[in-house]
Amino acid sequence: MRLGLADTITSIVGITIILLLVIVAIFAQQFAPYDPTEGSLGDRLKPPFWQTGGDTAHLLGTDLLGRDTLSRLIFGARTSLSVAVVAILVAGTLGSALGIVAGYLGGWVEMVIMRIVDLAFSFPTILLAMVLAVLFGASFSNIILVISLVLWAEYARMARGESLQVKEMDYVALARVAGVSKARIMLRHILPNVASSLIVLATLQVGVVIILESSLSFLGVGMPPPTPDWGAMISEGRSYVVTAWWLSMVPGIAILLTVLSFNLLGDALTELLNPARQP
């Protein structure tokens, strides 16, 4: 399956933006003109440089505490991306493992796992995250825990569905007859054949995680201040929409661009790897 011209262009744009973001996030220290957590009260609420009153010292203006918006935005990329990568690794590994085990072993193991999956799906995500965030407090590892608890079920459901198909294949039957252990069959024969769907899901979920993480910050149960965080920046800027619009608009555009890029890449991957399932 090949991509059409328009899809090729959009996926290249997506990948380029993602690469730039990753570079900016890794070298945040070098790119950011100021310390993202240190402000000077003399420079409070400065507008971006193109507005009257703004200057090139603070390209995207400053916030209520005089902190440089651009620097917070750059370090915020690091927060968003690291939360997304770690949470998806944790949830993806756990969910996929449970899903493959459920699909391959069947029986009561499958029933128990899938009932827990149903439970995870029947619980309103954002409320679960809010309750858990209050329960465990706000820190990086707790945010990862909260988001992973919300995400894993999706991988389990997909991995199980795919495993059910793969386990009927002749080569799996052959391996079983040859006396290969169950664990080895799952790891060596099932996993590689369900991996591509799981990778597509993971790509599409980067956007979901970034939005979820920023929503948690917006609701005041995300990364603790003064961590530079896009959701928290929007939340802080919300009360100043009238006087200082850039505080909430700039980080919002950053989220939009980032999530859009990952969705473009995910859509292209879906088309390349799973032409039949393309919505």
Binding site: S122, P124, L135, G220, R238, V241, M249, N263, P279
Partner: protein, 306 residues
């Protein structure tokens, strides 16, 4: 069919019990409400007395049994804040505002999304199709709360067309519904479009065309009816995301619904209220999914009832 419905009903009830247990345990672990209620001048005796009054000194299983027993009588405890109103009453008072918001959002999304999805599928590759795809992609890429704030900035602060927040007047619905509709609309357009494209290629549509049925009737009657199935399949997930969006949007627009109540409850560790909110939302969720499954069984006879 009847056995299938009974089975699904029992399943939903078991789920509700498990959710109530989880909610109860989480609620008890969210922090010490006694410390929040007392002033800094309180003595240890005051603390012990209040702990006893709130029943927090009993073992957890007993607390849960009391919780369920009271819940069956409609007593979910009292809010630990302000007037200490009954938790259920607080939630019931706020429920209509949230339901209105969710229902209007889903209606608006269906009214715009279905025709748009059909047009996009019929005119595949046209400007409208591209527009619908871009719309769907954008709707899935922006956080609901930010769309809300951006819309507030643009339409209220800059253009002075609409009120920034509040609840009651029809014009106050516009911005929250606008913010919420993006995701719902995007999902409906995507599902309708792909469903329609499958349906238009199918044998029965070809047969209808051969029989001389006009293209309008083929599209809007024969094909659309069958492409509603995927929309129905995902309506549980779509509604779930809408409910999640409601929590956030209510916080943005000062909308007096249960979403904002949940936010306030979390902030003040008001767990009796939080428990009821989560239980009510989870029950709504289960009810919607149950309805969808039963409807689905009626509409699509191919479904297995096992």
């Amino acid at each position: 069919m009847q056995r299938y419905i009974v089975r699904r009903l029992i399943q939903a009830l078991v789920m509700l019990v498990i959710v109530s247990m989880l909610v109860f345990i989480m609620g008890r672990l969210t922090g010490d409400p006694v410390a929040l209620l007392l002033s800094e001048f309180s003595t240890e005796d005051d603390k012990a007395l209040l702990t006893h009054q709130l029943g927090l000194d009993k073992p957890l299983p007993e607390q849960y049994a009391i919780f369920v027993g009271n819940a069956l009588h409609g007593d979910f405890g009292r809010s630990i804040r302000g007037e200490r109103a009954p938790a259920l009453q607080l939630v019931v008072e706020r429920l209509p505002a949230s339901l209105q918001l969710a229902v209007v959002t889903v209606l608006v999304s269906l009214l715009i999304g279905l025709p748009l999805g059909v047009f996009a599928a019929v005119n595949k590759g046209s400007l409208l199709d591209t527009l619908a795809r871009v719309l769907a992609l954008l709707g899935q890429s922006a956080p609901v709360f930010w769309i809300g704030i951006a819309a507030m900035y643009f339409f209220s602060v800059q253009l002075h067309w609409l009120p920034t927040s509040g609840y009651g007047k029809p014009e106050q619905f516009v911005l929250p519904v606008f913010a919420l509709s993006w995701f719902t609309l995007a999902a409906i357009v995507r599902l309708t479009r792909s469903g329609m494209m499958d349906a238009l290629e199918s044998e029965y549509v070809k047969l209808a065309r051969i029989k001389g049925v006009s293209e309008v009737v083929v599209t809007w009657k024969h094909a659309l009816r069958n492409s509603l199935l995927p929309v129905l399949t995902y309506s549980g997930i779509i509604l779930g995301r809408t409910i999640a969006g409601v929590v956030v949007v209510e916080t943005v627009f000062a909308w007096p619904g249960i979403g904002r109540l949940a936010y306030e409850a979390v902030m003040s560790r008001d767990f009796p209220v939080l428990q009821v909110v989560v239980l009510v939302i989870a029950s709504l969720f289960l009810l919607v999914n149950l309805t969808v499954d039963i409807l689905y069984a009626y509409i699509d006879p191919r479904i297995r009832y096992s």
